[in-house]
Structures are given as structure tokens and as C-alpha cells.
């Protein structure tokens, strides 16, 4: 089934479209009037358990939102709901104009979820991986090359099998795949896990650059100091509810 045409106000994908963006939204997000994500009293159930119990919040284009909270609070569930992997049991939830109650399969091609694994093929090279994911949305060779350049995997790493990369390089390759397949909303679950200091710095720089190019990024992390300095906004998730929203 073809995905419906997104609303005309939908933000352009970040890949190769940085010049089309209305300036660096990263520094001046307006989540309500420019909402990419709009949740109102959303309930999601895992098994018999209400993993999200009435979540209301908005995220604007180009924002980097940090989800913080203890283990089991519902951060990962919230990300999976945003990715269209869980049904909305109650309330209204839209992402990029898609209603998650009725269009959760359609929204998937517009968002990218990066969890503890990178979703890469270890025996293929960096270029082959980015090409594969790009080709799923008919990305051109130019777009694929741009994605690799933006994530810093275009030169000496391009022909290296992913199996031989460091954890940080794998993360950057995975992000290049997200860019190549034109994901507009990036959902990152503990993105710093397993990275050394250099890898973390590289990842942070990559995320800031991506948000400045128009990508909307939601990060679930326990590393509050690092992720907090990266985020434009912090949302606290406790017991399946968004309890407070703090300015970063």
C-alpha cells in the first residue's frame, strides 16, 4: 500500500536538503506551532501493562529532545510508539501528519529508530550498507554519497566491511543509513552506549549537524550530562507518564 502524501507543512528530509530548511531550528524550536510530533493523552499497552499512561507532549522540527527517566519508565516504549511499532490504545498521536492510530505502518518510512543494535550487515562494506538502505527509498547515488560524507564515512571507511569497524564508526554508518533513507525523525535509544569518548564526541557533533539540517531527534539516555548538553529540551518519563518538561 502506498503511503499517503504527507501534509504540505511536513518538513523536508534532512538529506541534501539543508539549504531548504528555514534556518537552524536547533537554536529556536517552537514545538507547538511547528510540531512534528503531537501526542495528547496517549496510552500504550505492553501485554496487560499500560507502558504509557496518558502521555501528552509535542516536539518541533529540528529539536533534539532528551527523554530521561529510570529503567522501565517507558522511554523505549515511547520511542517504539513513535516508530509505529506499537498501537495507540487511547488518545491521539500524530507524527509528520500521520495518525499513529490508523497509519502506523505508513509513518515508518519517515522515521528512523536506532536502538542498541545498528541494523547493519556486517559482511558488507560501509558503502554497500548505505547503498542498500538508500535504495529502499530510491535514493540516488548523489544522495547516498552525501549521506556518507555528512556522517564522515565516505573516504577511507567506505570500502571497509562493517565487521571491522569500531563501535563509533558503526554508529556513524547506521546514521548515514538513516540519512540515506531520508528519515526525518530520528529516534535514538541510548545512542552513546558502547562508544568511547571520541566516538561520543563524533556522535554528538553528528546529531547537532543533523538537527541543524532539519532532522528532528528524540534521544532516550541515562547519560544526562552528555545528552542534556546536546538536547534543546528535556522530557522526563516516569511510570509511563511525562511528568515534567524542563528547559535545557
Amino acid at each position: 500500500m502506498d503511503a499517503p502524501q504527507p501534509p504540505s507543512s511536513m518538513p523536508l528530509p534532512p538529506t541534501g536538503r539543508a539549504n531548504d530548511a528555514d534556518g537552524p531550528a536547533h537554536s529556536s524550536p517552537d514545538p507547538v506551532s511547528n510540531a512534528v510530533l503531537d501526542f495528547d493523552d496517549v496510552v500504550a499497552i505492553l501485554g496487560q501493562f499500560p507502558a504509557l499512561a496518558g502521555v501528552t507532549f509535542q516536539v518541533g522540527r529540528g529539536e533534539i529532545v532528551l527523554l530521561k527517566g529510570p529503567n522501565g519508565a517507558g522511554k523505549t516504549t515511547l520511542l517504539r510508539l513513535c516508530a509505529g511499532l506499537l498501537p495507540v490504545e487511547r488518545g491521539t498521536a500524530t507524527i509528520l501528519g500521520f495518525d499513529l492510530a490508523t497509519q502506523r505502518r505508513e509513518v515508518r518510512s519517515h522515521v528512523g529508530l536506532l536502538g542498541h543494535q545498528n541494523g547493519l550487515y556486517l559482511d558488507m562494506t560501509v558503502r554497500e550498507n548505505v547503498q542498500f538502505w538508500g535504495r529502499t527509498v530510491k535514493a540516488s547515488d548523489v544522495e547516498i554519497d552525501q549521506a556518507m560524507v555528512r556522517m564522515g564515512v565516505a573516504d577511507r571507511l567506505a570500502e571497509v566491511p562493517v565487521r571491522k569497524l569500531s563501535a563509533g564508526q558503526k554508529r556513524r554508518t547506521a546514521l548515514a543509513c538513516l540519512v540515506a533513507r531520508r528519515a526525518q525523525v530520528w529516534l535514538l535509544d541510548e545512542p552513546h552506549a558502547g562508544l568511547d569518548a571520541v566516538g561520543r564526541d563524533e556522535l554528538d557533533a553528528t546529531l547537532v549537524e543533523a538537527s541543524q539540517a532539519g532532522a528532528t531527534i528524540i534521544v532516550a539516555s541515562h547519560e544526562l550530562e552528555r545528552a542534556g548538553s546536546l538536547a534543546t529540551r528535556t522530557v522526563e518519563v516516569i511510570g509511563g507518564q511525562v511528568h515534567e518538561v524542563l528547559d535545557s
Binding site: 509505529g84 505502518r105 505508513e106 543494535q117 556486517l122 542498500f132 527509498v137 558503526k170 528519515a183
Partner: protein, 259 residues
């Protein structure tokens, strides 16, 4: 991107990964060969081998199928790529068809090797396969033993028809095995203990293929005097099974890997 284009992309990716890793050539093919040799040792009597050789080929194929399917989904789960495809909204039907196509190509190569192994390792058993090999019209020397490949098994049987039957059987059985293997491989990939779950699910499901393919090959090679004409009904069964498994798999794969 339409379903077929995506399926071709996924199949090409799978075949590229296998060509790069050489798991199939270095591990699966030798495993299949060893299985064939083991059967010969265990059965020992040439008369028994002559009778059961077609079935042994398909048994070895089925065992190898399990490894190929484990491998096919292993590359998807090593780093969460199957989940990533699901999250990316890649059409589940295309994933199924692409992986089944790649699996079918590997299986076909494997079966060709197994038939060759049956000729080499089962020695006199190829006497019953002369109808298929009659094209060559030359005696073959295998480890000092002259193996006659000329003539036909049963008077009046066409070696061309027998060969067509054999190839058609291989193609239709391969499609059925690949479809069932991919379907249950995707299902098992989401569970802990998928290595043990996969055989439990797959072996009963492919039983009709094993039976039909064995009967059809018996007809093609003239085991126990079976005629070529008797094999086509089994090929029909295999074709129906392949179509049903392919269509059913493409429809069911999405819900299976999604939920």
C-alpha cells in the same frame, strides 16, 4: 519502490553477503557432501542405496535447508537488520520474496551438487539414473571404476523427458522449500532458541515436498522401474505446494515478523 524491485534488492544483498562470507561454499556444501557420504556408509548395501538414493538426496537437501535458513536470518539478526527493515517500513512481502529468492538460488546450487555427489558417491546407484545421463553417451571413470552412463533404464523412456522431469522437479521443489524455509525462518528469528525451533516447524511443513520430490526423482531416474510419466503428478503437487507456500508466505510474513 515496488514489491518486486525491493525483493530483487534484498535477494541481491543476501547473495552478496553469502558470496562475501563464503559460509555456503565453505560450510554448507561440505556439510551436504558429508551427509551424503554418511548415508552411504550407514546403508552399506548397494541394493538399498539404489532404492533409496532419491530420498537421500532430498533428506540431505532438507538438512542443508535448515542451515541455509538459519544463516539467511542470522545475517538479519546479527545487528538487528530485520528489525531495522521492519522499522523502516520495508514491505514485508518484499522481504519474504527477496529472501526466498536468494535462498532458492543457493538451494538450487546445493541440489545440483547433491545430484552430482549421488552419481559419484553412490557408485552403482547411477545405473538407475542412466536415463537422465544418457545424453553423455560416454562411460565415465570414477576412481578407477568405470561407470556406464549410456543407455536408458526402461525401454521406450526418453532421456530428454527424464531430464526435463528432473529439472522441473528440482525447480518446483526448490521454490517450495525456499518459501517454507523463509516463512518459518522469519517466525523463528523472533524467538529465543530459534535454532531448535526452526527444525521443529520446518521439517513437518516440508514433508509433502520431500515425498513429492523423491517420487518424482524416482520416476526420472527409473528407480524400481518407475516410469517418467508417473513423475509428473508429483511435480504438479510440488508446483501447487510452491505457489501456495509462496503466496501464503508473502501474505503471512508481515504479521509474523511484526507481531
Amino acid at each position: 519502490m515496488n514489491t518486486w524491485a525491493l525483493a530483487r534488492l534484498i535477494a541481491a544483498k543476501d547473495l552478496r553477503v553469502e558470496r562475501r562470507s563464503k559460509i555456503v561454499t565453505n560450510q554448507v556444501l561440505p556439510f551436504a557432501g558429508i551427509t551424503m557420504i554418511s548415508f552411504a556408509f550407514v546403508l552399506d548395501k548397494q541394493s538399498v542405496i539404489d532404492t533409496v538414493a532419491p530420498g537421500l538426496i532430498w533428506l540431505a537437501t532438507m538438512f542443508s535447508l535448515l542451515i541455509l535458513v538459519q544463516r539467511s536470518f542470522g545475517i538479519e539478526t546479527d545487528d538487528g537488520a530485520l528489525d531495522a527493515m521492519r522499522v523502516a517500513g520495508v514491505d514485508a512481502g518484499a522481504i519474504f520474496l527477496g529472501k526466498a529468492m536468494a535462498l532458492a538460488v543457493q538451494l538450487f546450487v546445493l541440489e545440483a551438487m547433491l545430484f552430482a555427489a549421488a552419481v559419484i558417491f553412490y557408485g552403482e546407484s547411477i545405473q538407475s539414473g542412466r536415463s537422465v545421463l544418457a545424453f553423455f553417451n560416454e562411460p565415465m571413470d570414477v576412481n578407477g571404476v568405470e561407470v556406464a552412463l549410456t543407455g536408458v533404464t526402461s525401454p521406450g523412456q526418453s532421456p530428454i523427458l527424464a531430464t526435463v522431469l528432473l529439472v522441473t522437479t528440482m525447480i518446483s521443489a526448490t521454490c517450495g522449500l525456499a518459501a517454507v524455509g523463509t516463512l518459518y525462518g522469519g517466525l523463528a528469528a523472533g524467538f529465543k532458541g530459534s535454532e531448535t525451533l526452526l527444525p521443529l516447524l520446518t521439517i513437518p511443513a516440508v514433508a509433502p515436498v520431500l515425498i513429492g520430490a523423491t517420487k518424482a526423482v524416482e520416476s526420472a531416474v527409473g528407480t524400481s522401474g518407475a516410469a517418467v510419466s508417473e513423475g509428473w503428478q508429483w511435480v504438479s503437487l510440488l508446483a501447487v505446494f510452491a505457489v501456495a507456500a509462496g503466496v501464503g508466505g508473502a501474505l503471512a510474513f508481515g504479521p509474523l515478523i511484526d507481531d
